[in-house]
């Protein structure tokens, strides 16, 4: 089995996780910029973080032969401070040419505030000006439905943005249809308690064909499972999906979306 982990916060994980992911068939890992669990005090902290994502982390992954890619932004959880967000966004263009940077993400909303909306619009403008792919974080729990609607409105309002170049992550049953109907890609995050179980992800795949869906572990410093995708593959098998269909969902689908960035190139991975 081969798979792509399209959303994992590896800076928060131990090296053993890299080893186990590769043993399980991981062919590439993609790391969106994230909240550290505490607020950074200045844009300098983000500069260091972006260096970590583009220099240090790829080397750590390479020790196991695993290609590492990343996305850059200031996460919605730190978007209430618009001045800080502006300073951080100003740093990003100089990193966009680095070989493992795939685009702008994970941008979006957290509590659906006015300032978060402003910063989202700034990120969308940045992506449009630099022709970057977009990876979107949708809010948690009670904020997801409203936040997803607001995010889609922002993306649709910018005529430069092509839905097929945007992945709307953390979809659940009440948001997946609006995302796919809008021509966007959807990401299903496999978490033990919040977001989505493997069984529910398979339900959505069966209901919506899975043509523009991927799954991810979004493993970070919280309760999360770095091998969530291989476990979801097992769930797909238990539900009667063929090896070819599973490969399409966990390897070919993310590859198809991510390959819209010419920097996303993988050595041939065995089936």
């Amino acid at each position: 089995m081969r798979y792509i982990e399209p959303h994992a916060h590896m800076v928060s994980r131990v090296t053993d996780d890299y080893q186990e992911m590769v043993v399980a068939g991981c062919a590439a890992v993609c790391e969106p910029a994230f909240w550290a669990g505490f607020d950074r005090s200045s844009a300098d902290g983000f500069y260091d973080y972006f260096c970590q994502l583009t220099e240090h982390e790829p080397k750590r992954a390479a020790k196991f032969g695993l290609p590492h890619f990343c996305w850059l932004c200031i996460n919605p959880k730190e978007s209430e401070d618009v001045k800080l967000a502006s300073d951080v966004i100003a740093l990003i263009p100089k990193f966009l040419e680095r070989p493992n940077v795939l685009g702008i993400g994970e941008i979006g909303l957290n509590k659906n505030s006015r300032n978060e909306m402003k910063v989202l619009e700034m990120h969308v403008d940045l992506a449009a000006r630099h022709n970057q792919l977009i990876l979107v974080h949708t809010p948690h729990l009670e904020d997801k439905l409203k936040g997803t609607r607001l995010i889609l409105d922002v993306l649709r309002a910018d005529s430069r943005i092509k839905p097929e170049r945007c992945l709307i992550d953390h979809v659940e049953e009440h948001t997946v249809k609006m995302v796919l109907d809008g021509g966007f890609w959807g990401g299903m995050t496999l978490y033990p308690e919040t977001k989505c179980t493997a069984a529910r992800a398979v339900d959505m795949i069966e209901l919506y064909s899975g043509e523009r869906l991927w799954m991810n572990s979004a493993c970070d410093w919280g309760v999360s499972v770095p091998l969530a995708i291989p476990y979801a593959a097992l769930e797909l098998r238990r539900r009667g999906h063929s090896a070819e269909a599973i490969d399409r969902l966990i390897y070919q689908n993310p590859k198809r979306f991510l390959s819209q960035c010419p920097k996303f190139k993988l050595p041939d991975a065995p089936l």
Binding site: E80, K111, N112, S113, E116, H174
Partner: protein
């Protein structure tokens, strides 16, 4: 998969979760003090489970969601609690 196959695959897991829910509600009943908006939302969501038609999961998620449409003035916390306080 047909219904028999799905029951074979998921019944025991769903049964376990159902009993956990019952135990959670009994635990709350035994405890002293006031509950809050989360339990109200939880009880409303439970009513959706008894509906005869799908999609129950979408209705449960909707009951537990903020139904408003405008951005809030400012974020005063980063965390979500799983139910809308109704402000």
């Amino acid at each position: 998969m047909n219904r028999q196959q799905l029951l074979d695959l998921y019944y025991l897991e769903a049964r376990s979760k159902l009993i956990d829910l019952a135990a959670f509600l009994d635990r709350l009943d035994r405890a002293k003090g006031e509950s809050d908006f989360r339990l109200n939302a939880f009880n409303q969501a439970l009513e959706q489970l008894r509906a005869d038609s799908t999609p129950r999961v979408e209705r449960v998620l909707a009951v537990l969601s903020d139904p408003t449409t405008e951005p809030i003035p400012a974020a005063t916390t980063k965390a979500a609690c799983g139910a809308w306080p109704g402000k």
